[in-house]
Every structure is written in C-alpha cells, then in structure tokens.
C-alpha cells in the first residue's frame, strides 16, 4: 500500500494454474447447459459470458483516482473503481432495458450510449469542479504527453502530487468504459430476459403475460448482480487507481478478461438453471 492509498502490487502476469482451473470451470458451465438445454439457453450463456468480458474490459478504461484524487494528489475521478463503473453501467442498463422492445441492436446501442452519456456528464462535471472551484488544471501522472491532444503535463503538476484532474485521454477513456459497461450489462439482461420469457411460463405453469413482470425483474436483478461481480473482479485486477487506457496498469486487462469470463459463466449457469431446470 503506497501513501496514495493504491497498492502497486498485483503483478502483471497470468497465473497458468489459475487460468487452467478457470477455463475448466468455464467449459464445465457450458457443458452443463449443453446437456440440460442445448440451443437457446446455451447461446444465452455465451452471450452472458461476452457481456461479462465487455464489463471487465470496460472497467479498465474508467479513470479512477480514489481517495488521493479527492485531495488533488492523483489524477482521475475521486471515487472507487467498482462504484463508478457500476453507476455508469447501470445507467446504461436502464436505457437498454427501456429500448428492449425495439430490437436487439437498438437495445444494445441504447445501453452503450446510456453508460457513455453518464460518464461524459460526470467526467465534465469533475473537470468543472477542478478548474472553476479549485483552480487546478489537469495533469497526468503516468504519461508526459496526452496521446490524443499532445498536451504536456510535467509543468502543470503541483509539487508533491502525482498529478490531478482529468486529462482529455482520461475523459475519452471514461466515456469508452461507460459505453462498454452499458453494452455488457444490457447484453446480459437481454440474454437472460429471452431465457426467462421462453422457459418460465412452462416452469411455473402460467401464461406468458403474467410471467413477463417476473422475467423482467429477475433478468434485471441478475444483470445488476453480474455487473457488480465483473466490476469487482476488474477492480481487484487494477488494485487501487487507474488513469485510463494510457495507464501502464491497463495492460493487465487480459487477466481480468479471463477472470470475468469464468465468473460470468458460473453466475450465468446458475441464473439460467433457475428457469431451465
């Protein structure tokens, strides 16, 4: 644990034993669904896994500075990784669920844009506070130059800090992260909703119209739950704070992607078995 609150430990490599165990679990989950209900349920589980991957990958884009950012001691948004990613992703899920009846593509795009818009507004307000209320210009602590705008940061960094505010690359990263989170969350919701709409009327012996509110609620709860599972796994992979796609910690994402795939497969298996069994 450093003085800035974020531990730098965590390593960069992928643990081979853990990866093999994870892949076995993933294949096992797919195998169980294939035996119990091949076809639609299997495709839904694959969709859930892809949604989990998107969430895990997207969280790495979100610029989070944690507690040090609240004192202008490090760049990023002054809150937790999971918190912010969940806020954006669930705002996206709200939009995606609303657009579900307009078709798969529109709903997914609506979810992605909802998450991206939430982050676009939040990141802007963070910079407004830093600039107009605190008089602090943005400065990255991880790179000397903004990869998009070419702005240099060294001269603008306050003494005794690792940088502050949200440079433009972090802003763009936040929007991409929010969009990927919203996309992943909505994909999980839509896949589970399709499974519940298909199987719950038979399982509960009730007409489809009566089942619809239950199906929507269950798919929503499971989508939120799986969103948090994947966001927490990604947050553990990041260990503390991250500035966005230009941060060296961003390169750790393959490990989180594997972890999220396994966790989504196991969670998705249980969520689907609830209706299919």
């Amino acid at each position: 644990m450093s003085a800035l609150g974020g531990g730098s430990s965590g390593g960069e490599g992928i643990n081979p034993v853990g990866t093999v165990v994870g892949i076995v679990l993933l294949l096992l989950s797919l195998g169980v669904i294939f035996i119990v209900s091949p076809g639609m349920a299997l495709m839904a589980l694959i969709g859930v896994i892809i949604g989990g991957l998107l969430i895990g990958f997207g969280v790495h884009f979100v610029p989070v500075g944690g507690a040090p950012a609240a004192m202008g001691q490090s760049p990023g948004i002054a809150t937790g990784v999971t918190m912010l990613a969940a806020g954006a992703g669930l705002a996206g899920l709200f939009g995606g669920a609303w657009a579900a009846e307009l078709g798969f593509g529109v709903a997914l795009a609506g979810g992605a844009i909802g998450g991206g818009l939430m982050m676009a507004i939040t990141c802007l307000m963070v910079n407004v506070i830093y600039v107009y209320a605190m008089g602090i210009p943005a400065a990255s602590g991880k790179v000397a130059k903004d990869p998009i705008t070419g702005d240099t940061f060294e001269a603008y960094k306050s003494q005794g800090t690792e940088g502050h505010g949200l440079p433009f690359i972090s802003y763009v990263g936040g929007v991409i992260g929010g969009a990927l989170g919203g996309l992943g969350g909505t994909l999980i919701y839509l896949e589970l909703l399709a499974v519940y709409e298909e199987f719950l009327p038979t399982a509960l012996n009730a007409p489809a119209e009566q089942i619809l509110p239950l199906a929507v609620s269950m798919a929503g709860v499971f989508a939120i739950g799986m969103f948090l599972v994947n966001a927490v796994i990604a947050a553990y992979n990041i260990t503390g704070t991250i500035e966005g796609p230009h941060d060296p910690k961003f390169k750790r994402f393959p490990r989180a992607v594997i972890g999220c795939a396994v966790a989504s497969a196991v969670c998705g298996l249980l969520a689907i078995l609830v209706a299919v069994m």
Partner: protein, 301 residues
C-alpha cells in the same frame, strides 16, 4: 403530440427531482464524511491531529444509496400494492429507509472512531446527537426525490423495471455521480482549506486537516454549510443532467429511424460534452498557466 409533450414534461420533472437529489446526497455525504476524503478524517488522529469530524464511511456512497433508495422504493411499492396513496407511500418508504440510514450512520461513527482509541481520538456523544439527525434529514430529501423520480419513470413513462429495481439502479448512479463530483471539493477545498489554492495537496500534508473554525473546533455541520455552496449544487447538476438527458433523448428521438434516433442523439450529446470538456481543460491551462513555486508561496503568505 400530446403524449410527446407529456413525456418531455415528465422528463423535466424527473430531471428537477434528480437535481435536488444529487445536491442533497452530496451535502449529506459531506456532513457525514462518507466519501473518499474520509480517508483523511480517519488518518488525522493517527498523525496526532485529534478532531471533531463525523465519520461514517464504512461503504462507498453508491452502494449505500443503492441500498437506501432500493429500500425506500421497495417499501413504497409494497405500500402501494395495498392501495396506499403513492405520495404517502413514497414518504413512508423514504422515512423508514432514513431510519436505516440513521442506524448505519450511528454504528459507523461509533465503530470507526472507537477503532482510533489507541491514538487518543475520543468518541463524542454530542456529535452523534447533533450530526446524525442532520445527515438523516439530508438523506430523506435525497431518497424521497430519487424514489419519486423512479416512480415517475415507471408509472408515467412506462419503464419495464419494477420500482425497487429502479431504486437500486438510480441509487447507485446517484451515489456515483455525487461522489465523483462532490468529493474533490470537500476533500481539497474544505478539509485542506489552509493549503494553497490552485494546487493539489502535497502528499506530505496528508492527515493535517483543518480542525478549528472561527470559534472553537470545526464541526461536520460547518462542512455541509461550505460544500452546499458548490460541491452539492454541482453534484445536483451532474445527476440532473444525467437523468434528464437520458429520458429526453429516449422520449424525443425514439420515434426516428426505428429507435436509432435516440442512439444518434446520445452520440451527439456525448460529442458536445466532450467539446465542452476540452474547452474547460484548455481554458484552465491558458488562464492558470504552469505550476510555480512562487504561486504556492504567495498563496500561503
């Protein structure tokens, strides 16, 4: 056309409720010191700085508000199911959720502060009496407005999610927006008011928070007074914009291009916000200029 106008009107009301909710949420979290800057409140006694600041950060704002808003919305939904008037149901649901918040705040303050006993940080009973109720009052405003907004989304706009689920979704988003926007103002500008304006707090100053007011020791209520001038309203604007624009783009543009109109409108809005952000960033660089030692010395002298 009438339906469209109705939808936009509801969006505006929901946006206004969200604005109040965001402002109350941030002020509540600053009075209770629940955001990330609370790390300094917890650190201060360990560095020898005994204080009278409240401390209830045993979870982040998003999960805490997710819980309280889901609880308020769930209770309101249950009361409405037994034919209570919606307004009364939302008031009662929010009030009961606030009692849970009060229990949470009290136990959090006692637990967190008692853990600092070996650094000689006392537990102030008068603080529990004076501050807890104020955080509860602000939390009520935040929860009531958030649940009311969710109620409008379900009953007037026809969102498919049930009320408790929407309470959870928007409670988490409320906490995320409020903590992201309001935390730096409370952390840097209030807790480290003695540090130079226009620069981040040097890591070496960590823990040395401002502990004295014009008369006597600083109270957490003073922090709410201060942050309600900027951090609170800014958080309100942030959450209000998120809610209003999300609803507005969907209601107004969903009819175009089989639903893709709302997506295109969202992309345009994101690009507009991106341009504004870039303007703010370059304005700060041009106006304030690079960091200099002299600036810091002048400000501190």
């Amino acid at each position: 056309m009438e339906e469209l106008l109705f939808g936009i009107g509801i969006s505006a009301v929901a946006g206004a409720l969200a604005t109040v909710s965001g402002a109350a949420e941030d002020t509540e979290s600053d009075i209770g010191s629940q955001g990330d800057p609370n790390s300094q409140v917890q650190l201060a006694p360990q560095m020898g700085y005994i204080h009278r600041i409240y401390s209830k950060a045993i979870s982040g704002e998003p999960p805490a508000y997710g819980l309280w808003c889901a609880l308020g919305a769930g209770l309101a939904w249950a009361l409405m199911a037994i034919n209570y008037n919606p307004v009364l149901a939302i008031v009662l649901g929010s009030a009961i959720a606030v009692f849970v918040q009060g229990v949470y705040a009290t136990t959090a303050y006692l637990g967190r502060t008692a853990s600092l006993a070996k650094f000689e940080q006392p537990v102030y009973i008068d603080l529990i009496k004076s501050v807890t109720t104020v955080t509860m009052a602000h939390a009520f405003v935040a929860i009531f407005t958030c649940v009311s907004m969710c109620f409008l989304m379900v009953n007037a706009l026809g969102h498919p999610f049930p009320l408790p689920l929407l309470g959870l979704v928007w409670g988490i988003a409320l906490g995320a927006a409020g903590s992201a926007t309001g935390n730096p103002f409370y952390g840097k500008e209030r807790q480290y008011q003695t540090q130079a304006f226009g620069a981040g707090v040097p890591i070496s100053a960590s823990g040395n928070i401002v502990r004295y007011a014009e008369a006597g020791q600083r109270s957490s209520l003073d922090n709410g007074w201060f942050t309600s001038k900027m951090g609170g309203p800014a958080s309100g604007v942030c959450f209000g914009l998120i809610v209003f624009l999300e609803l507005w783009r969907t209601i107004f543009f969903e009819e175009f291009a089989a639903g893709w109109g709302a997506v295109i409108a969202g992309i345009v809005l994101i690009l507009i916000f991106m341009i504004i952000d870039r303007f703010v960033e370059t304005w700060a660089r041009k106006t304030y200029g690079p960091y200099t030692e002299e600036t810091a010395e002048e400000a501190s002298s």
